[in-house]
Symmetry: C2
Subunit: 234 residues, 2 copies
């Protein structure tokens, strides 16, 4: 099943394997957004000026609002939000523990790249799920132009101020993408229903593991585009 | 002038010394709320369980909303929010740097006590300013019963689990109040218009430094009530 075809699901409540996959999906998104709020807020606490501090706090606040939207939806589906999020804590926490930026520029790159990866993932899965879930997930895909522009400008400014950091930031971008793929893989191994959804294995047409590879390939391409926009090697 | 009498101001725009005092007031509240969002979010990142993590993130989100309300008001008053906040950064930052809780229980006590002190301060100043400013400031005084109940329950639970921490938490509460007073005093020395507003010196009746002492006394009493509610010596 390609991401472009029509999803076979019309509701998250009929098929029990599909329901399980949707709860996994919402659980991972909810926990990811909750921790994104924490991470961006911590970035703001280390911002070099008041304007950046406020801008980061606002980015963080949006992630918290996304968390609330997903948590509310889990409630509507009679799911326990804590139970839905818990299986994804270790992978999300590990990603962040392994990608703590040491400089403001690294933190800006992580905010830009991390948000981009999340948004790409949300758009990919939106094509695979029922319309209501798709709408919700697309609603939290917030790598908007205005957000991106601010982050990109800040990163380019930091590079202009000290061009020697360019090589390190390029490596940093590669590492962020690598850690994201590595943690996502961990999740896919542990959460069969979610993985089956991603490879189309829950649908009538059976699974296609190659589709998962193509999804990663598309996401890696978009990541490369973002690095190019920063003037960095991907 | 006592806090119970009618404030002599009807608008923040007429008198220029009064306007300056109001901008100081809003600047300190805005920056205080912005950093409270950061601090509570950092607490959430260290929470012992997912439920506490989410609850702390929600408390933090409310502080961010308060920040936005005050920043919007500064904009309405044609003031530069950054300029209004900047003079208060060092005192607010110093308070937090000197009161970093080492344990979850200390962080809960700081959240409860810190919020309580802020709320008491907001209620005190609401009695001294024009009605519109008063309404705004009272709107961010959010030491509500539901918030408090959750924090108090968590603290009492931590003490019940390990009664030996009681003495240290009592000292901790005293230190929080002491640091708050100390930083507030620093601000009062540096910001004459704000200090004059607090002692009634901007009004026709002239300043009364004793009123400031009485305000601190009232706030200390309320702090003692909170410590008593925790079962701790004040």
């Amino acid at each position: 099943m390609s991401a472009e075809s029509t999803p076979p699901y019309t509701s998250p409540t009929g098929d029990s394997a599909y329901r399980e996959a949707v709860l996994d999906l919402l659980g991972t998104v909810a926990y990811g957004e909750l921790v994104a709020h924490e991470e961006l807020t911590a970035d703001g606490a280390l911002a070099p000026d008041l304007g950046s501090k406020i801008a980061m706090a606002r980015l963080a606040g949006e992630e918290l609002a996304h968390f609330e939207a997903i948590a509310a939806r889990l409630g509507e589906l009679d799911a326990d939000p804590h139970a839905a999020m818990t299986p994804f804590r270790s992978a999300v926490d590990a990603y962040h523990a392994r990608t703590q930026g040491r400089t403001w520029a690294e933190r800006l790159v992580k905010a830009y790249v991390g948000e981009g990866i999340r948004t790409d993932f949300y758009r990919e899965i939106a094509a695979l799920v029922d319309p209501q879930t798709a709408e919700l997930v697309l609603g939290v895909a917030t790598a908007t132009e205005a957000r991106d522009d601010w982050l990109v400008a800040g990163i380019r400014e930091a590079i202009a101020a000290d061009p020697r950091i360019e090589g390190r930031l390029a490596l940093w971008g590669r590492r962020l993408m690598g850690e994201a793929i590595s943690q996502a893989q961990q999740v896919a191994v542990e959460r069969e229903a979610l993985a089956s959804l991603l490879v189309g294995g829950l649908g009538e047409r059976g699974g296609d593991i190659a589709e998962l590879g193509r999804m990663v390939a598309r996401m890696t391409e978009r990541h490369a585009d973002r690095m190019t926009r920063l003037g960095l090697a991907a």
